[in-house]
């Protein structure tokens, strides 16, 4: 067991290869949310989630009917377990005391948001523009905004990938994907 623990520590340092580099660049001025505050936030969210499930279970009944346990019986106890476990997690996160360890730097979170925001817009656009046009837009925006590639590379990939997916999914595997006004114009 001891040996395994040592390897796990070692593994962490190995995985940390990229982190160490990040740490060095992490000067005095870099800040971000602490790990503790995020842990507390997650635990609180889970507690809220469990209360919603408990409420929903109570609505449909958690007791026994003549034909056995009601529909809310199982989820109710599941939610109680989430509630208990999350409270313990919350307690542990709070009692860990203030610490300097960051969840991530603001800059890193910014990087994450640069993926999350276009993706969120993308999934919203899929139901409106269809899968193909939205996908082309996502690839184009992503390559232009994050990768800063020239149009000579962006356009062929942004147009080519949706066409290839169309051939593979729609034609070969007969999986229909959502289509929007532009596909309608083309007669699909």
């Amino acid at each position: 067991m001891e040996c395994r623990r040592r390897i796990l520590i070692r593994r962490r340092s190995h995985l940390g290869g990229n982190w160490e580099m990040a740490d060095k660049s992490r000067g005095a001025g870099t800040t971000g949310p602490t790990h503790r505050s995020v842990e507390i936030g997650v635990a609180v969210m889970m507690i809220i989630f469990s209360l919603i499930v408990i409420g929903g279970s109570l609505q449909v009944g958690i007791s026994w009917a003549f034909d056995g346990p009601r529909a809310g019986f199982f989820p109710f106890y599941i939610a109680v377990m989430i509630l208990v476990a999350s409270n313990i997690n919350l307690y542990q996160a709070i009692s860990a005391g203030p610490q300097v360890r960051l969840f991530a730097e603001w800059g890193q979170l910014g990087q994450v948001l640069r993926v999350v925001i276009p993706s969120a817009v993308y999934v919203a656009l899929v139901s409106w523009l269809g899968m193909y046009v939205a996908s082309g837009l996502l690839i184009g925006v992503f390559m232009k905004w994050i990768g800063r590639y020239g149009w000579g590379l962006v356009l062929p990939i942004a147009i080519g990938v949706p066409i290839v997916t169309f051939i593979v999914f729609e034609k070969w595997f007969l999986v229909p994907l959502p289509k929007g006004p532009i596909e309608e114009l083309l007669g699909y």
Partner: protein, 501 residues
């Protein structure tokens, strides 16, 4: 000897040209998935699952399981050449694999890794061939209480044996169960937890969760870390392959030990990742060259790769024989069985002989085909990894969205996938394990059904779970697994106390 005849019949099914083609396509896709960041075995299989809806179940499972073998092989390439584990179970492979690549012995390391993977998988398949029918025959006697006992055991081992804090594991798992219970209650036909929101009527599909949690979440993590791939190049020529093969038999003991560790850890839901670490650790302690581990010792590649592949393969044993998947990928395959209209579990061995033996035969052939493909295609696969992240990331996002959409032809699912993605990122960073969450979504309905059926039989008394020796043993094993770390701690304390006394 009926099994042998069945197995040969299975081979006859597999060698049909269409199935061979499907196998090769599956392996190639799988290796690519294993190499790409953000795509792993579980979500790779989940994304491609809708493609198989129009195939026969046997061809479909051959394709999907081959994607899994391919992903297992592919993880080694990124570990050795790029020092980036493509999959968590190849982390241990980087310890000695990457130093070897730095010394210019990449070809040797890759050959050793692929060959050991192959050996580990073959050992596990042989075990499945021999053991699965026996387990299934035994499990046919299980009633609802025993079935629940098996689920109980599986989930307890998650809490007791995972390296994450137990209450985080418990919370993650129970959230999975809660999500699984949303929608129509199968026993009473009543709607629950939908709060009048129409898209929730059908409940949460676990495929969406897998694609979001593992796929999108992984991309977000990669983005945050700002990875830059700086890899070593590798050429594998036949001379290196044969030289390495000539050297490998020396490590038969390490190999055999790793096979056994892998099979054991794979059957219990501990999984491939701890198996590879444990195998590496033990090899390091026992080997004569243990001091040199970490500096490019070939034995340090053999041990984790063999164990990881053996574990990954044997994770299918409980899935096939008991209907309890041993890993997230096995869970996705189990979901596939349900979609194709097959009932996973012991009855498969009685009702769907052709399917089950076709699958087992394809495991043998698939691993041979896989070994040949990866040995010949390494430069090509390494080139895929050099595609810059800003190009590959949106393409992976698009593939995830297509996969999520085609599960139920619903654009709501695509949005849900995105929510799961952000959730996966935050949970993973906060050290909540995702595998039990996914497994709970998959098994939630079945666990609840067997639990309520047992309680119905006993008029609501929990004593039914201790009513006979069989279910009692399973439940007791579950409790032991649950409190495993406490038991271990107490044991070491007792030993230490007697040593000092």
């Amino acid at each position: 000897m009926e099994e042998i005849a069945n197995l040969f019949q299975g081979f006859a099914t597999v060698v049909q040209p269409f199935n061979i083609m499907v196998m090769v396509v599956g392996i190639v896709l799988g290796v690519i998935i294993g190499v790409l960041p953000g795509l792993g075995g579980a979500n790779g299989v989940a994304i491609l699952l809708p493609l198989t809806f129009s195939m026969s179940p046997t061809s479909a499972i051959i394709m999907l399981s081959c994607i899994y073998w391919g992903a297992l092989f592919g993880g080694a390439i990124t570990s050795i050449l790029f020092n980036i584990p493509g999959e968590p179970w190849s982390v241990a492979t980087t310890f000695d694999g990457h130093p070897m690549a730095q010394q210019g012995r990449a070809g040797e390391a890759l050959t050793a890794a692929f060959t050991s993977s192959f050996v580990g998988a073959l050992f596990a398949v042989a075990m499945i061939t021999l053991v699965a029918p026996l387990v299934a025959a035994f499990a046919l006697r299980f009633g609802p209480a025993e079935k629940f006992g098996v689920y109980f055991l599986a989930f307890c081992s998650f809490v007791g044996m995972s390296k994450e804090p137990p209450f985080k594991t418990l919370a993650a798992m129970m959230i999975g169960f809660a999500l699984a219970s949303v929608g129509l209650d199968q026993m009473t036909g009543q709607l629950r937890l939908t709060f009048g929101f129409t898209p929730l009527l059908t409940g949460f599909n676990f495929l969406i969760a897998v694609i979001g949690l593992f796929g999108i979440g992984e991309i977000l993590l990669t983005m945050e870390e700002g990875l830059h791939f700086k890899g070593r190049s590798a050429v594998i020529n036949p001379r290196v392959v044969f030289q390495t093969w000539a050297e490998l038999p020396r490590y038969w003991m390490t190999s055999l030990r790793s096979c056994v560790i892998g099979c054991w850890m794979g059957v219990t839901p501990a999984g491939a990742t701890p198996a590879s670490f444990m195998s590496y650790g033990i090899a390091k302690r026992i080997s004569k060259k243990g001091q040199n581990f970490g500096n490019g010792e070939i034995e340090g590649v053999v041990a984790p790769e063999t164990a990881a592949h053996a574990a990954g393969t044997s994770a299918l044993l409980p899935m096939l024989a008991l209907g309890v998947p041993g890993s997230p990928t096995a869970a996705v395959l189990l979901g596939g069985l349900l979609i194709w209209g097959l009932q996973p579990g012991p009855t498969l061995f009685v009702d769907n002989k052709e399917f089950i033996w076709g699958l087992i035969a394809s495991m043998y052939l698939g691993n041979i085909v896989g070994l040949i493909i990866v040995l010949t295609c390494v430069p090509l696969l390494a080139a895929i990894l050099r595609i810059p992240f800003p190009i590959i990331a949106p393409i992976i996002l698009v593939l995830c969205a297509i996969g999520a959409y085609s599960v139920n032809n619903s654009t709501f699912d695509v949005m849900l996938m995105m929510v799961f993605g952000v959730l996966g990122y935050v949970l993973k960073k906060c050290n909540y394990p995702l595998a039990p969450l996914v497994l709970a979504i998959v098994l939630g309905d079945k666990a609840e059904e067997s639990f309520r059926q047992s309680l119905l039989a006993s008029q609501g008394s929990l004593s039914i779970f201790w009513s006979n020796w069989l279910v009692g043993t399973i439940m007791a094993l579950g409790l032991i697994a649950l409190f495993w770390s406490l038991i271990q701690e107490a044991w070491t304390r007792v030993v230490r106390a007697t040593a000092t006394a």
